[in-house]
């Protein structure tokens, strides 16, 4: 931050000096009035192309010094049309009249198959201000939308390069897959692959009425993204370049324990309580040696860090290092850069838009960095064929490559590296060989699981390639002024290609020993390549009729059809024992020691098709009473014939109270609208089973079974579980009530929505059948869910005078909340063993109550023998409870700690401790501009939500999870209970107690509230005065700083500074254990950029 402040201060000084040098030698003054001849206060009067200007006083007057000769003034005021006035050399007095701006009334919003005037909307549609997104340095559009739209929830699930968040509109929508439909220029696409600089506008459609025209795919909201297009500029091209460079660094602390002594001491202490002996074989003498070096940040020649000694009859390296393993393996700061360029232009017959972008992000891995690169291209052309036909084409191409060393996923590598690398161990021995197996570890464990070898040797070259190509051709026919017919066809092909390479590695255990080889797991010599290709064909044909009758009755009718076909095919191949360690190709697969060539292949394909006929009628009377009905008759291949088609209607009404005559005189009021909608939508997206209504025979490889025949895994075939052939749509019926309010020339805006969504007939397991049935009860449409919520957004913007110059500022905030209740589910006993029960609030966390730690052994013994039988939780606790252990509370008073009947009515000693879903989501944006400077700050956060740390999450638990942590929280032992230090947060030290012991029982003491407030973005920019930049041929030039994820505040920070609350929340979602307990850290991004337009 200090660096930023310094740079900003310098900028102001330099620019101020330049501005002052501008010759100003005459005065122009005057009054600014509105059409009613009332003075306008706060109007800005600027000399065009400069920062010289004034702001009108309450009586509407202004006065400013201008250069001699003719000048051009720009007069602007919020709510009024900006005027440009030429002031001849001799004129010194002006009376300027500004006209009210009707633009706001004319503002349109993209809706399904068309646009609507914003004031006439009756559904819940939020348009995103894409200007605010332009400076965001987040690497993809999805993540940029976090906090930008109330009710749109973006969960960022990983911090590694190339990862993007997931989207959800209005909370828990279904217990099945329920992502919103994302359409880019009308075609289903992946939002994270869109070049954010291409985006013209984004509409988030939240309620059923506005989404109904998309029928079966829109049950859980629609996000419409429209990209920029060429425009009629009389043949002149506009080129815009935007480039920025900077770096990223973790949002959390990486200040881990680097002192060998404390690392060994802590790990041994935790290990010994569980295993009865030390994890390391360091002797007492060794510990003294380590202690002697505890403050040596670098090796002191008098106290070498590696000593050769004879132990147990052979030469051995004894390591006394203070190694900062984290920073040996990873960089805190790593560079990023982003470039984009676009060219737009055209005339009235042909318009074009061309853009390209490149984004390069280095990851944290230090030795051979992981690098993510992304390319975007878009080309749009729009040509008038004749008087009533226009043809356009829109091509986009996306490509990304993530190159990284290590096992199958970078998350896994990160997790594996975080074990067994004690600070006392070096990465390499004095002879240059890698440290891997060492007799200083008593068990059969290996330092960092060899991941430093993997990173360091660079033989594990993994690559993930993604390409996405889409081309749309559209014909628009306008035979009459009131009717437009549009037909388009889109072809999209996208592919992911992955390469996973692993190779043997060698290490040395003893100074006088030969090299040893590691040849399985991450050390297996193998290459796997997979390709998955998806194709989509989409056709839309629709017509729109729009007319106004008798200047009062406005009617718009839209109708048409949509057909889409999607298919996917995947191919995978794996070979072992490659002939080269540096080349990665399946041609190089060779025989193993016994002469066998080991290869594996896999395949698979899926397809679905949809078809829909849709229509919408909008009617308004003098823009005062608004009506809309729409519907779609939709078919999908994902159900059995006879169940494929559904009709999804919706209707909505709006009343613009502000247009009523009784409010006509309230001049301060710009808009007041009440609206209500109801709609009924279907969901055909039932997860990755595209043929859920069919029983299929599939042939698979066993996960681990062989008949010793050949060199491949055994195979088996299986018949899919019995199915309900009558499967059909999930439906979501939604009610939405909204208010839009704008006043004081739209300075104040407010929107509120409340909604209820009933998700009916969710596809879930049917009535329970006796187990002798031998299969899961076939899925049927058998559960209902109710979600209720609200969304608020409030904005204020204004322009005032600051130091004689106009200062524009705005503040906007949004807030949303929801709660979801299961209203129908087949669980009559309300058993907690089943996922849901009627009346259940989604996200509830059941757990025990703990009211402290035992103070003495006697208290522990007495309590657990006389008050509460705690045998339920003492799985790893032979010897019983002692001082420093958790004191559980006997909630049900039966003297035995337990889970009762495991039902809601008899949960034993558990109760609902909290809810894992965020109770509020909010965002606040502040912005200001003055004298060419612009500033914006964006905060985003959540209200209370709870998380019980996953057992293996040792950024929280430290050595209570796996004791042998590589990245041990610095000074962790100070926070651990001991007789001398009894008032700690954490209990008696014991390895594995969070993975299988008392800490693994969800309880109130360690439940975390992970609400957070995040300083999501700060942008500070300066636009160079146009009359300078024009001299060097630039229309506009702006330099800026933008920082993303700059800081966060969360109650979690009190207990760990190593864990970002967002990552905490996501890591406990049943992903593979290895990933679950350690996540690639979340990054903040700091970048300096320049935008040039010419």
């Amino acid at each position: 931050m200090r660096r930023i402040r310094h740079i900003a201060a310098t900028l102001v000084l330099v620019l101020g000096a330049i501005t002052a040098a501008w010759a100003q030698n005459r005065v122009v003054s005057g009054t600014v009035l509105d059409t009613g001849q009332q003075p306008l206060v706060g109007a800005a009067v600027l000399v065009a192309g400069t920062t010289t200007g004034d702001v009108t006083a309450p009586d509407g007057t202004f006065s400013l010094r201008v250069p001699s000769g003719e000048v051009t003034l720009e007069v602007s005021c919020l709510g009024y049309t900006t005027q440009t006035i030429r002031v001849p050399a001799g004129q010194a007095q002006l009376a300027i009249v500004l006209e009210e701006d009707n633009m706001l009334l004319q503002e349109t919003v993209v809706v399904g198959y068309g646009v609507q005037k914003k004031v006439n909307l009756t559904g819940a549609v939020t348009a995103v201000d894409t200007k605010e997104l332009q400076d965001r340095t987040t690497h993809n559009l999805t993540d940029m939308l976090q906090g930008a739209v109330p009710g749109l929830n973006v969960s960022i699930t990983a911090g590694n390069p190339g990862a993007s968040g997931s989207l959800n509109i209005r909370g828990v929508t279904s217990i099945n897959s329920s992502d919103p439909l994302v359409l880019v220029d009308g075609v289903e696409a992946d939002m994270s692959r869109v070049n954010a600089n291409d985006v013209e506008n984004i509409s988030v459609i939240k309620d059923a009425s506005a989404a109904a025209i998309y029928g079966a795919r829109a049950a859980y909201g629609v996000i419409l993204i429209t990209t920029k297009a060429g425009s009629d500029k009389g043949g002149k091209a506009t080129v815009r370049y935007s480039g920025r460079m900077g770096w990223e660094e973790p949002t959390v602390s990486t200040d881990f324990e680097t002192r060998g002594y404390w690392s060994v001491y802590t790990v041994d202490k935790f290990w010994a309580t569980d295993a009865g002996k030390n994890y390391t074989t360091y002797t007492e003498h060794d510990m003294a040696e380590l202690l002697a070096r505890v403050n040596d940040v670098t090796e002191n020649p008098e106290r070498p860090w590696v000593v050769e000694e004879i132990r147990n009859g052979r030469k051995q390296w004894i390591y006394y290092c203070n190694t900062d393993w984290y920073h040996e393996l990873y960089n805190d700061q790593h560079p990023v850069q982003q470039h984009s360029v676009s060219i737009t232009g055209g005339n009235k017959d042909i318009k074009y838009f061309l853009s390209g972008a490149y984004d390069r992000q280095s990851g944290i891995i230090k030795l051979n960095p992981d690098v993510f690169q992304k390319y975007n291209l878009r080309a749009k052309i729009d040509a008038r064929l004749n008087k009533f036909m226009r043809l356009s084409n829109n091509t986009s191409f996306f490509s990304s490559a993530y190159d990284y060393p290590g096992g199958s996923s970078v998350q896994d590598s990160f997790a594996y590296a975080s074990r067994h690398a004690l600070a006392s161990f070096p990465l390499q021995n004095p002879d240059g060989s890698w440290v891997y197996g060492t007799p200083l570890i008593s068990g059969n464990y290996n330092v960092a699981n060899g991941r430093h070898l993997v990173f360091g040797e660079n033989k594990h070259r993994n690559q993930q390639l993604r390409t996405d190509f889409s081309n749309t051709t559209e014909l628009k026919i306008t035979p009459t002024r009131n009717f437009t017919l549009t037909a388009n066809y889109t072809y999209r092909i996208y592919q992911s290609r992955n390469q996973y390479r692993s190779a043997n590695f060698q290490f040395r255990r003893y100074p006088d020993a030969d090299y040893e080889y590691y040849t399985t797991g991450a050390g297996e010599d193998s290459l796997e390549e997979t390709v998955s290709t998806s194709q989509r064909h989409a056709i839309n044909v629709f017509g729109t009729y729009d007319n106004t009758f008798a200047e009062a009755h406005h009617l718009t009718v839209t109708g048409g059809m949509n057909m889409e076909d999607w298919s996917n095919k995947s191919v995978g191949a794996l070979g072992k024992n490659l002939l080269s360690e540096t080349l990665n190709d399946l041609n190089l697969v060779g025989p193993d020691e016994t002469g066998n060539v080991i290869t594996e292949v896999s395949g698979g394909q899926n397809a679905y098709a949809i078809m829909g006929f849709f229509g919408r009628i909008n009617y308004d009377y003098k823009e005062r009473y608004l009506f809309e009905i729409s519907g779609r008759y939709d078919g999908t291949s994902r159900f059995q014939k006879g169940h494929q088609w559904g009709f999804f209607p919706s209707a909505s009404v709006g009343w613009r109270i502000s247009e009523e005559s009784f409010l006509k005189n309230a001049r301060w009021l710009d808009n007041l609208k009440l609206r209500f909608s109801y709609g009924n939508l279907g969901n055909q997206n039932l997860g990755s089973n595209y043929y859920a209504y069919l029983r299929q025979i599939s042939v698979n490889d066993f996960a681990g079974y062989s008949f010793g025949e050949g060199t491949t895994m055994g195979k088996y075939s299986t018949l899919g579980a019995p199915v309900d052939a009558n499967l059909t749509w999930e439906t979501a019926e939604q009610y939405n009530l909204g208010v839009d309010f704008a006043a004081f020339k739209n300075r104040l805006t407010f929107t509120a929505e409340v909604y209820r969504r009933n998700t009916l007939n969710m596809l879930t397991a049917g009535p329970d059948l006796p187990a002798v049935f031998g299969a899961g009860s076939p899925k049927t449409n058998a559960a209902d869910l109710k979600t209720e919520g609200y969304e608020l957004s409030l904005g204020w913007r204004n322009q005032v005078s600051f130091l004689g110059h106009p200062l524009g500022y705005s503040i906007r905030g949004s807030l949303s909340d929801f709660r979801s209740i299961i209203t129908r589910f087949n669980n009559p006993t309300k058993s907690l063993a089943m996922s849901y029960y009627e009346g259940m609030r989604i996200g509830d966390i059941w757990g025990f109550e703990v009211d402290g730690l035992f103070k003495t052994d006697e208290e522990a013994k007495q309590y657990t023998s006389e008050v509460l039988d705690c045998s339920y939780i003492n799985g790893r606790m032979t010897g019983g409870f002692l001082a420093g252990d958790l004191r559980f509370v006997d909630l049900d008073g039966d003297g035995v700690l337990g889970i009762g009947a495991n039902t809601v009515d008899d949960p034993g000693d558990r109760k609902i401790l909290g809810n894992s879903l965020a109770s509020l989501q909010y965002g606040v944006t502040l912005s200001a501009d003055w004298l060419g400077f612009d500033f914006s700050a964006f905060f985003q956060g959540t209200g209370n939500h709870y998380w019980y740390p996953a057992g293996m999450n040792y950024m929280f638990w430290g050595p209570y999870s796996y004791p042998y942590v590589s990245f041990l929280q610095r000074d962790f032992i100070d926070r651990v209970w001991s007789e001398e230090n009894p008032d700690t947060y954490f209990p008696r030290p014991r390895a594995y107690s969070s993975t299988g012991g008392e800490l693994s029982k969800v309880n109130s003491r360690y439940l975390q509230n992970i609400r957070y407030l995040r300083f999501k973005n700060l942008t500070v920019g300066y636009t160079l005065p146009a009359n300078w930049t024009r001299k060097i041929g630039l229309e506009k030039a702006r330099i800026y700083f933008s920082g993303e994820n700059l800081a966060y505040w969360s109650p979690l920070a009190k207990y760990t500074k190593y864990l970002d609350p967002e990552s905490a929340y996501r890591r406990n979602t049943g992903e593979s254990a290895a990933q679950d307990h350690m996540a690639y850290p979340w990054q903040k991004t700091l970048m300096f950029g320049i935008d040039i337009t010419f």
Binding site: T273, N444, A609, M611, L694, S717, P722, A771, G774, A901
Partner: protein, 601 residues
Amino acid sequence: MKRYIIPAIALLIGLTSCNWLDRTPKATLAPENYFRDETDLQLFSNSFYNNLLDKEPYEEQSDHYVHLNLSNVLRGGNNRTVPNSGGGWGSGSGAWGDLRKMNTLLEYIDKCEDKDAVVKYTALTRFFRAYFYFNMVKRFGDVPWIQDQLGTDSDELYAPRDSREVIMGHMIEDIDYAIENLPSAVSVYRVNRWTALALKARFCLFEGTFRKYHDPAQHAYMYVVPLPSGAHDSAYYLGLAADAAKEIIDNGPYKLSADYLKMFAGPDADKGEWILAIKNDQSLQICNNSTAFATMPTQGCPGLTRKFVASFLMADGSRFTDQEGWQTMQFVEEMTGRDPRLSYITVTPGYIRLGDTEVSAPDLGSSVTGYQLVKYVMDSTLPEVGRVDKSYNDMPVFRLAEVYLNYAEAKAELGTLTQEDLDASVNKLRDRVGMPHMDLEDANAHPDPFLLSEEYGYRNVTGANQGVILEIRRERGVELADEGFRLTDLIRWREGKCLEQTLVGMYFPGAGQYDLTGDGKPDLCLWSGTDPKHKDMVDKEIGTDTGVILSGGASGCLDHHQNVAHVFDENRDYYYPIPTKERQLNPNLKQNPGWNDGLSY
């Protein structure tokens, strides 16, 4: 304008009239097109192996063998509860889901045109159906017999349980069909005729001894569905068991392996002795955890119990427990001059692990009783085997030694055992390890008081063959240690009370230094008071969780489970409970005796 609209409408109609929404799977098959040839049948039946066979038999705890944490079965009492669902009575793999697969295959198998394959895979499937039902009978007693793929409205879903006589009858039909029709060539990783015979011997011995010791006349409560009149008696099943075993002994292509230890610790199944095995394969990463389990301190710390160790004979055939003071004998002395199999099963003084060159002392940190496991511990020089889940030795399912033991036991229980029978069976096991022969007359003349004692032995063995039955049980425990037989044996013998017997380990007379390798140098120091902090031996504090807990406080046997009650309810624990939810869904299911699931019916 019309010239555009009309073709457009024509196009629309054209597109919609073709079956746009028809998308059939292209990477999977429809059942109608499957089950057509031998490959289809084999692939479909392959999952029976994976789902039904126990891949880690050494994990089963009993009175012979315990972990750091006792299983709920061992602890008994309130630690065993009626589950809401699952508990071996689930609908998925490992339970009724497998039966459904078998019945599915049997339903569709006639679609195959290769009729030899139909017979072969019918036989294979019926083998596994018998295997499946054996597991269910062991666990639950009476179960419903189902031989069809059920629909959501099938009556069988709500049927009561069938008596074990009915189930056994069907199992014998199935296994006899399998014996008749499976190939007889040796195939250690695939089921053949000999596997079917071995299974028949195993489950008929089970049923024969079960009916004998849980005599329906005295223990009627064990037969929730009463046996029908005319039900077979124990002799019938014992006879079938003896016959099936005899067929393998007389006509089977199997012979005992020469090396007891390498048979389990070596990478590959012994194709001479093993009838069916589970293939593990390092290059395919099909592994088990046996080595790490026995040698790492984090994997459960398994150990033999002192009682079991004491049951091993001396190398000269005499009884260890006949010696004065055996109860307080220290490790080196205790282990000297014993049945050689003791040193193949547990770490004894002078133990050198396969591949090692130096002697290892038993690791008290890796074994809760101090009697650390050896049987499946692979050669230390093999790459990776010491890591968790990286052992790749094959696992036995059926082997000839068990057939011998089953034969001898069936004959002994029938009362028709001869010395020739013993010589043709268990004495071959004795020969392999150089132990003196078991003598029928001598055994019956001198029943072992240790094996009859309430503290260490069996309660229900009586009759003329009492002595030899005890000896056969001893032999069975020794020979089949860690192979997952013990709990089932106790159940069929009605000897559940054995689980209440002592679970302690090595004996130590108190604080001091101990030599555990027999080289005269101490390896272990037990202390109390001040930590001696030795550099050349392991120090353990007496009486602490992290050190050692001794049965007598300051002295005694390692007694990690000192405060852990382990009780066996004779009126309940021979069966598992039916899950509560299942009884709610099907009120015709009666609960097993003694299990209170809170339901009023």
